[in-house]
């Protein structure tokens, strides 16, 4: 018998199913962009017909890291910067799971930056949502890797001397195969993008602009925003790496000039995910790695000659 009975049941799910009985009331500040992510994720999960039990949501540390406390599913609230390696391994160990990792800009682009690059490079089949509020929220407003140059905070009272990182460009260079930016103030686009990201077979990266009214007061609420895929001003082919790259660069630059561009930037449907590659060359079984322990009939090959012959 499979332990993973929840996977691929074919039943309809309602958005409210993802509201846990356990800790339903988020403790985010009023007006916080993080509510937008939660709402969009619930909507996406319902639209995809996923059961809570076939989802694993791994988060880092930060205000953003609380996401899975308010979302009914299997959740792993990990440590600062390390949600990605945990999430991608869970997906490898059980490909039937829908795996989402989420965390802040400090968590994902700063302390966990190396994992971000490598998870994208390896094109793991999972979705990574970065709550980009351009500051450290939980620790009360310090400068983060996405804080604009000149941004003043308690740790950079005279303004940050550093240029912010370019998360979309970095993601593209690293190798993510689905890259989008959305904003909490645009819940419908956000939901649609999460649906696409989860459906995409490969590493989907969503840079999610989440306003922090508490600590990032001078930051805009990310309105008005422009959807580059709808706007006639921004014609580009999102399957074309060079054009996507140019679009990303512009988006990252104009954000700090007050123009909020959002939408799908890059999609590569061709590139196989890490798991697909490994399965194709026979390095990974199709079924969950934990499955065989439960399968009494499985030919559990313990003939020790196969081990020991080599050593003779």
């Amino acid at each position: 018998m499979s332990a993973f009975s929840a996977i691929s049941e074919d039943i309809e799910h309602d958005r409210n199913e993802y509201t846990p009985g356990v800790e339903p009331q988020p403790t985010w500040c009023p007006g916080c962009g993080d509510f937008g992510v939660l709402k969009a994720l619930k909507g996406a999960a319902a639209e995809l017909g996923l059961s809570p039990e076939e989802m694993l949501v791994c988060t880092g540390i930060g205000c953003s890291g609380k996401l899975n406390s308010y979302f009914e599913s299997y959740g792993f609230h990990t440590i600062h910067g390390r949600s990605l390696p945990i999430a991608r391994a869970a997906k490898l160990a059980n490909p039937g799971l829908t795996v989402v990792a989420a965390g802040g800009d400090g968590d994902g682009y700063g302390i966990g930056g190396n994992h971000f690059s490598h998870s994208a490079r390896e094109n793991h089949d999972m979705t990574y949502i970065v709550f980009n509020n351009e500051i450290f929220g939980l620790t009360k407003g310090q400068t983060s890797p996405t804080s604009p140059k000149g941004h003043k905070s308690k740790t950079q009272p005279h303004g940050s001397a550093k240029d912010p990182i370019r998360p979309l460009s970095q993601s593209l260079t690293a190798g993510a195969s689905y890259i989008a930016r959305t904003a909490a103030v645009n819940p419908n686009q956000a939901k649609d993008i999460i649906v696409e990201a989860i459906e995409h077979d490969g590493f989907s990266h969503i840079d999610f602009l989440t306003q922090c009214p508490t600590w990032n007061k001078d930051a805009k609420q990310y309105v008005p925003y422009i959807d580059i895929n709808d706007s006639e001003d921004y014609e580009f082919d999102r399957t074309n790496r060079a054009e996507a790259s140019e679009m990303m660069y512009e988006t990252e630059t104009v954000l700090h000039e007050g123009t909020v561009l959002t939408g799908r930037y890059y999609v590569d449907e061709e590139r196989p995910s890490y798991g697909q590659e490994k399965r194709a060359i026979g390095e990974m079984p199709e079924e969950p790695l934990a499955e065989r322990y439960f399968d009494d009939d499985h030919e559990w090959d313990r003939v020790y000659d196969t081990f020991l012959d080599r050593h003779k």
């Binding site: 391994a89 059980n94 026979g282």
Partner: protein, 764 residues
């Protein structure tokens, strides 16, 4: 004879303009003195009746004299006498070893008077020296007293004071010219010379011939350049340790001979290629046999210069009387995948080496390596860990390469897949442990392996593993630290880190297999402990276990004895038992044994949170003081449950009734078991307790209390395990520590223990 009269002025030795007394040679033992003073010693190489000591101070200036053995003996007695007088004068009870009971003194093996056969005399000399040196080295107070009279001082350089005297004690024994029961062979050259694979082939040949094998490697972390050697000790009986004797050496470079001078003896044979430019003028030390074999030329004739080491192996077969068919079989195994032609070429190369020696040399070494019908497997500790993981049903491995743990990963890749598992090479160790953790969370038995520098990085996640109660096996193959340290050298320095590393108080298990076959079994045990108690397990081996290849009977790895216990895993049907009244699953339920149920993601009705935050039974964050205490207690209770339920017993060797107790942990068991035999031959009984569990660990109180002398042996400078034993038993122990990067060998360990035990007797 007066206690000073026998000293000859060291200055007068130097005055002679050379460093040699007529008919004898002497040398500086420690070229770089560190510490207060240093000792220069010499063992007369030919004339075993004469042993001399010359002492130098820190700047290398000789301060002492030269002594011969007879006067040393007299002097030893004189020292003891004066010590006794002094201590009675001082009325200092502590130094009143002379006042020990007569019975006790009678039971002590007496120093012999000089005379008798040269061999007997030699033994006496060693014994006397041992006594003097042990007294000097072990007790600074007594040392001070002696210092003013004898000018013998303590060399503080290196792993342990006594190690430096080792050659003095065991050196001459090597000169006994009969065929030993065990045989020691080595090939040495530059890194990049193919030393390792050649050595491995010969080891394989010996193993296939039904001989026991124990290998060791001298190597640098550089891939090319730098001295490297592969050494094999072989016998028809089991071998557990290296010794410092080399019978046949294949030297590809002059340095190989230099590096091994101490281990070569009169009967040693050195095979070298005199046609190699660097070897053309090589000097074979007096008394030894040099066999000049044109390795490269013969290899070229057989099909390629690359086979020159195989020619050397053929030559070695001839020298050692080892049937070359066994080498053939190892060559077949090694090269089979590359085609029969290559196999044949290699066999031919080996034959040409053999024939050359048979024809060109009239040396009869008298060596004859017999073969047996026994069936052995040959493997190292890393491989045994990898094999144990597969046997335990490990399905997921994540790692980042690091010496000396990389072999675990390389073993698993290509094998674990056949058992439905997968290996991931991570971007760093931070990632490796988190990847392993993610897979464990998803339900796979999961493991990572690294060495000290990687453990430092993994320590961050270790607390999360324990707090989220996820089973995980983390292997630390220790090497010399701190920082990058000596990456290819032996040390057991991580013990405290493994026991206490990480912020907060982290429940854990720490296992330390003591032999290569135990690496296999402890790995299986580690997985069961991890899953039964949902607690991280550190499994620690060290470099000498990891890279040593040793023979075992295949039964030592009998998979029929492997049991898998996955602990309290629930599924759709059993999950109900663990739901609260609201139907919510409780992954951190407070239970009597501390162990809660585990539901893998994907299980119906099991959805829950896991977190590194303190949490309640549902996995929901909490800072409630009561729940905090309950959860901490629950997690610690798992360790207590395991302490009661599992076997944490030590491994016992030697004489259980002996007054002298030696304790060690991890890999020192091998050399220790041989040291016991060496000492037994000399009439010294020991009880030896080898500890494979460092946390929880066996209670040693009774054993320690029953012993008069307790010595803790380990490869680190500060005596981390000795501290633990003292802490556990509230008894002071003697320490033998080695941290020069080289494992103990049986001879030196025997000498050190003998000294420690006897010094104890002298003091008592």
């Amino acid at each position: 004879m007066g206690q000073v009269a026998w000293w000859e002025s060291a200055a007068s030795v130097l005055d002679r303009g050379d460093t040699t007394l007529p008919g004898h040679e002497w040398g500086i033992l420690d070229a770089e003195p560190v510490g207060v003073t240093d000792v220069v010693h010499h063992v007369g190489s030919a004339d075993i009746e004469l042993i001399r000591l010359v002492l130098v101070n820190n700047s290398g200036v000789p301060r002492g004299r030269v002594a011969d053995s007879e006067s040393l003996h007299g002097s030893f007695l004189a020292v003891k006498r004066s010590e006794r007088e002094q201590s009675t004068e001082d009325g200092d009870a502590d130094t009143d070893y002379a006042g020990a009971s007569d019975a006790r003194r009678r039971s002590r093996r007496r120093l012999p008077v000089s005379g008798g056969s040269p061999e007997a005399r030699l033994l006496w000399n060693n014994r006397i020296l041992l006594h003097i040196l042990s007294v000097c080295c072990k007790s600074s107070r007594i040392f001070e007293a002696i210092y003013s009279r004898l000018y013998i001082t303590v060399p503080t350089r290196g792993a342990s004071s006594r190690v430096s005297f080792r050659r003095l004690l065991v050196g001459p024994q090597k000169r006994v010219g009969h065929m030993p029961a065990d045989f020691n062979w080595a090939i040495g050259g530059e890194a990049g010379d193919g030393i390792d694979s050649t050595g491995k082939i010969f080891a394989q040949a010996l193993s296939r011939a039904g001989r026991h094998v124990f290998t060791s490697k001298d190597f640098a972390s550089r891939i090319r350049g730098g001295y490297t050697a592969y050494k094999i000790r072989t016998s028809v009986d089991p071998v557990q340790s290296v010794v410092d004797r080399l019978d046949v050496l294949i030297a590809l470079t002059p340095r190989t001979i230099e590096e091994n001078l101490d281990e070569l003896h009169e009967n040693s044979v050195i095979v070298y290629d005199g046609e190699r430019t660097t070897m053309a003028n090589v000097e074979i030390p007096e008394g030894m046999t040099g066999l000049d074999v044109p390795l490269k030329r013969l290899a070229e004739e057989a099909g390629g210069a690359i086979m020159r080491n195989v020619v050397a192996l053929g030559a070695a077969c001839e020298v050692t009387g080892f049937p070359i068919e066994n080498l053939d079989s190892a060559l077949e195994k090694r090269f089979a995948s590359k085609g029969q032609a290559l196999v044949d070429n290699n066999k031919e190369a080996a034959r040409s080496g053999q024939d050359y020696v048979a024809e060109a040399s009239d040396v009869d070494t008298g060596y004859e390596l017999e073969t047996t019908d026994a069936d052995y497997v040959l493997l190292n500790g890393d491989e045994a860990i990898g094999m144990g993981a597969i046997a335990a049903g490990c399905k997921f491995y994540a790692g980042y390469p690091i010496t000396p743990a990389t072999d675990v990963m390389e073993y698993l890749v290509g094998r674990i897949e056949r058992f439905g598992g997968h290996v991931v090479q991570a971007e760093d160790e931070l990632s490796a442990i988190n990847i392993a953790l993610g897979a464990a969370r998803a339900g796979a038995r999961s493991m990572t392996a690294t060495s000290g520098p990687g453990i430092d990085l993994m320590t961050e996640t270790f607390g999360l593993v324990a707090t989220s109660e996820t089973p995980l096996v983390i292997v630390d193959v220790m090497r010399s630290g701190p920082s990058t340290g000596m990456p290819t050298k032996q040390e057991q320095g991580d013990l405290n880190g493994l026991l206490y590393g990480g912020h907060g108080e982290i429940p854990r298990f720490v296992l330390a297999p003591t032999t290569i076959s135990e690496c296999f079994w402890k790995t299986i045990e580690a997985f069961n402990l991890a899953e039964k108690y949902q607690t991280p397990v550190y499994l620690t081996a060290d470099l000498s276990l990891a890279v040593t290849e040793q023979t075992f009977s295949p039964e030592a790895f009998d998979m029929d004895n492997v049991e898998i216990d996955r602990g309290k895993v629930v599924d759709e049907e059993t999950i109900e038992e663990w739901q609260n009244e609201k139907g919510q699953f409780q992954p951190h339920a407070l239970t009597d044994d501390g162990v809660s149920p585990r539901a893998f993601p994907g299980t119906i009705d099991g959805a829950h949170m896991s977190t590194g935050l303190e949490h309640d039974e549902l996995g929901r964050r909490t800072e409630d003081t009561g729940m905090r205490v309950e959860q901490v207690d629950k997690r610690n209770r798992k360790v207590e449950t395991a302490r009661e339920a599992e076997d944490w017993g030590p491994r016992e060797f030697g004489d259980p009734d002996s007054d002298s107790l030696v304790i060690s942990w991890g890999s020192n068991e091998g050399p220790m078991t041989e040291a016991i035999e060496i000492l037994d031959d000399e009439g010294i009984d020991l009880r030896f307790i080898s500890v494979p569990y460092v946390f929880p660990r066996p209670d040693l109180t009774e054993a320690v209390e029953a012993a008069e002398t307790v010595v803790v042996v380990e490869c680190n400078a500060t005596g981390q395990f000795a501290d633990i034993v003292e802490h556990d038993t509230l008894t002071r122990v003697e320490r033998i520590n080695k941290y020069d990067g080289v494992r103990f060998d049986a001879d030196e360990l025997a000498a050190e223990i003998e000294a420690a035990v006897q010094e104890q007797e002298v003091i008592q």
